[in-house]
């Protein structure tokens, strides 16, 4: 690990000040990805600004037709919260399937989406549910937030405060994990909302994406069978030692049907 300075932020303003004072500074939330990257010398921040003390950024709150989850809320807390189970059970399923118990005990919502790993669970969750990312500067629709592999719309000195999830009529999340790491090989969040049906896919491509053809089919007929015959183009999908683009494209169809079934159950 390269050497770095360490700041424990006392509040949000303090964190922003540290971030603004040093172009090479980086925020650390749960650290479950960042510390691995540091260990492997894949990252070389001059300063780590620790958000661990900012308890005001952790919490889950039902606000009418939306569920607000703070950026520093741990995956284990999302998975276990009664408010999440009541409002969006598919989101509790998603959070409860991330990594393993130790990762869920430390990893945070904000850290996960800021990293935007193509094999992370939350991007499909946010895009599939039509969520909004609330930052210190603005509100960003999930559709516009995830911009590419490990890339987001976040500015250099912008901090995620939380995410607002509209409560869907029904939703289902199913993940096909890479069995050793439990990262996403392919996962799908399907949601029927007041604005229509959304289908979002993590793991298959370099960045989360929606499948409009599936959304149209499900809007007409919200059953797994409605997706029969819809093929996903393997062009541009991820290829690695775990799966070919063709296999991932096939999985999108299989997992999407299971996600619809989960939403109906």
């Amino acid at each position: 690990m390269y050497a770095f300075e360490f700041h424990r932020a006392s509040d949000i303003d303090d964190a922003l000040k540290q971030l603004g004072a040093d172009d090479e500074a980086q925020l650390i939330a749960g650290g479950q990805t960042l510390l691995q990257s540091l260990r492997q010398r894949l990252a070389m921040p001059s300063t780590l600004v620790d958000l661990g003390g900012l308890t005001e950024l952790a919490g889950i709150e039902r606000d009418g037709d939306a569920l607000n989850i703070g950026a520093m809320t741990r995956h284990a807390d999302v998975a276990g919260a009664a408010a999440v189970h009541d409002a969006i059970p598919a989101l509790a399923v998603l959070a409860g399937g991330i990594g393993d118990a130790q990762v869920r005990n430390m990893g945070t919502l904000g850290g996960s989406i800021a990293n935007n790993d193509p094999a992370a669970d939350y991007p499909a969750g946010l895009v599939g549910l039509g969520a909004t990312v609330v930052t210190t500067e603005r509100e960003i629709a999930a559709d516009d937030f995830f911009t590419g592999m490990f890339e987001t719309a976040l500015g250099e000195h912008e901090l995620i405060l939380g995410v607002r999830f509209p409560v869907p009529r029904r939703a289902g999340y199913v993940k096909f994990p890479q069995p050793a790491s439990r990262y996403v090989l392919v996962s799908v969040m399907v949601a029927e909302t007041d604005e229509g049906v959304r289908v979002a896919v993590s793991g298959a491509g370099p960045c989360v994406f929606r499948v409009p053809e599936m959304e149209r089919a499900l809007a007409a007929d919200f059953r797994p069978e409605a997706l029969d015959g819809i093929r996903v183009d393997p062009g541009g999908l991820n290829e690695d030692l775990h799966a070919t683009p063709e296999y991932r494209a096939h999985l999108v169809g299989v997992i999407a049907r299971r996600a619809v079934a989960a939403a109906l159950s």
């Binding site: 424990r8 303090d14 510390l35 260990r39 620790d50 661990g52 118990a101 130790q102 990762v103």
Partner: protein
């Protein structure tokens, strides 16, 4: 706000197994190395050192976490429980440790300290776990000796014992 320069040492004080302990850590010192080298608490084992094997799992404020994925300075002021705290000083093994022994839930023992910490946290929350839940909890650990069967049996047995105990305590009231 706490600020530590890259090569400065910071005095980290934490409550280790109920006792206040202090040592020096640079910003990049991992909690696992701090426990072992600075505090001499070598019960916490270090395997992969990058968040995969689970051998270094401790409980931070009661919650199972990998000590190799946490900086020592992040643990400043917090409660850390390790395998050394499971049995009392020179006391008998905890129920969980005794069950591990009975069920041959360890062979070489390298992964055991971490697994015991995860199990201790898990059994505190799940009073009536299924085998699937136990296996899911164990997915954060690699054990190359046992095939996990003995570990699963030990955890399920302790859960059942504790349920019985609680029932007896209720009956006595």
């Amino acid at each position: 706000m706490l600020k530590i320069e890259a090569n400065d040492s910071h005095r980290v004080t934490l409550t280790l197994n109920g006792r206040e302990r202090s040592g020096n850590a640079r910003p990049r010192t991992l909690l696992s190395d701090f426990l072992r080298h600075e505090l001499g608490a070598t019960g916490t084992h270090v395997g992969c050192e990058h968040g995969v094997c689970g051998a270094c799992t401790v409980r931070v404020d009661g919650v199972a976490s990998r000590a190799c994925l946490m900086l020592a300075v992040q643990a400043d002021g917090r409660r850390v429980d390790t395998v050394e705290g499971l049995a009392g000083d020179d006391g008998p093994l905890s129920d969980l440790q005794a069950a591990f022994r009975r069920h041959h839930a360890l062979q070489c023992g390298f992964c055991t300290a971490g697994i015991l910490n995860s199990c201790a946290d898990f059994l505190g929350r799940e009073r009536d776990p299924s085998e699937a839940q136990v296996r899911d909890m164990l997915s954060g650990h690699l054990c190359r000796c046992t095939g996990y069967t003995g570990i699963v049996r030990a955890v399920l047995e302790v859960a059942a014992q504790r349920r019985e105990q609680r029932q007896e305590e209720r009956d006595d009231v």
